[in-house]
Symmetry: C2
Subunit: 142 residues, 2 copies
DNA sequence: TTGATATAGTTACATTCGTAACCATTATTT
DNA sequence: AAATAATGGTTACGAATGTAACTATATCAA
């Protein structure tokens, strides 16, 4: 049991730092090359990976707030990277689907993502990298 | 070398998720009990731990943006939790110091922090916890 | 010295964010 | 079937954020 508080070994602090470090490295890519926000990138990636989804499904996949998803979808639609298809059974729902332009943007960012991933792997070493992934995954159930 | 992109095993994604999970658990405390933002909590904690500092020193300690620090300092000052002391050598500088009220707020949040820390430790187990801390620290040099 | 440059810190502005309120539609209850 | 509740999604509004411009002071160079 720890009795002394030390900010720099406090997990929320450590996590946040490391997370920004890792995230910003990749953010620079989608931000500078495509002028995308993180929410937009995440929505694009989710649709790219899972095909057509509703906004609510994107929310559950990503954990993003629904207003973020709503706005991201709107802005991606503006670029003509996705289309909305009204669901005929349930007219509240729109099925969201990447256009071919959206898919190639996604493909290009995937490549960049894999390159970036490799960079971090090289830095950490394969063992530490997978250890870290496992620990982070475990934390999801906290 | 990985050739397929999978969002859910992509490190920026994993990190961000885990970070939010861990951070929000503690944020609820300083937010609900003290109406503080993360920046404010971090500035308070830094001053609590290191004693009197200048704004720039807080920036280097925390990595926070200087406007965030400026605003956090202002708002903590409003609560009478810190005082500014003009430096007589360099009149651009203000030395920032917690008042006794600030110190007791800090002390109380430290206790909550230690409790929270213990909760995460228990969840992960001592070994995984320190493994994780080590990996996150390593990432700072990425 | 004085002019140029750098640093500490704040502020104006535009953007982003989260909460809550809000439509529209569907499901459930009575 | 009418009333009520629940759901998908958007929007209004206030708070928080980052960039860049700004003020004031200090340092450096000529």
């Amino acid at each position: 049991m720890k009795t002394e508080f030390d900010l720099h070994s406090f997990l929320p602090f450590l996590m946040h730092h490391a997370s920004e470090k890792v995230s910003f490295g990749f953010r620079d890519i989608y931000r500078d090359q495509y002028r995308m926000t993180r929410s937009e990138w995440r929505v694009l990636a989710t649709l790219g990976q899972y095909g057509a989804l509703t906004a609510t499904e994107i929310v559950t996949h990503t954990g993003l707030h629904k207003t973020k998803v709503s706005r991201a979808v709107f802005s991606i639609e503006q670029r003509r990277w996705l289309k909305r298809h009204q669901d005929e059974q349930d007219r509240r729902i729109q099925r969201l689907e990447l256009t071919s332009q959206g898919q190639s943007a996604f493909a290009s960012l995937c490549k960049a993502g894999i390159t970036y991933d490799q960079k971090v792997r090289d830095f950490l070493g394969e063992d530490d990298f997978s250890r870290l992934s496992a620990l982070l995954t475990k934390l999801n159930d906290l």
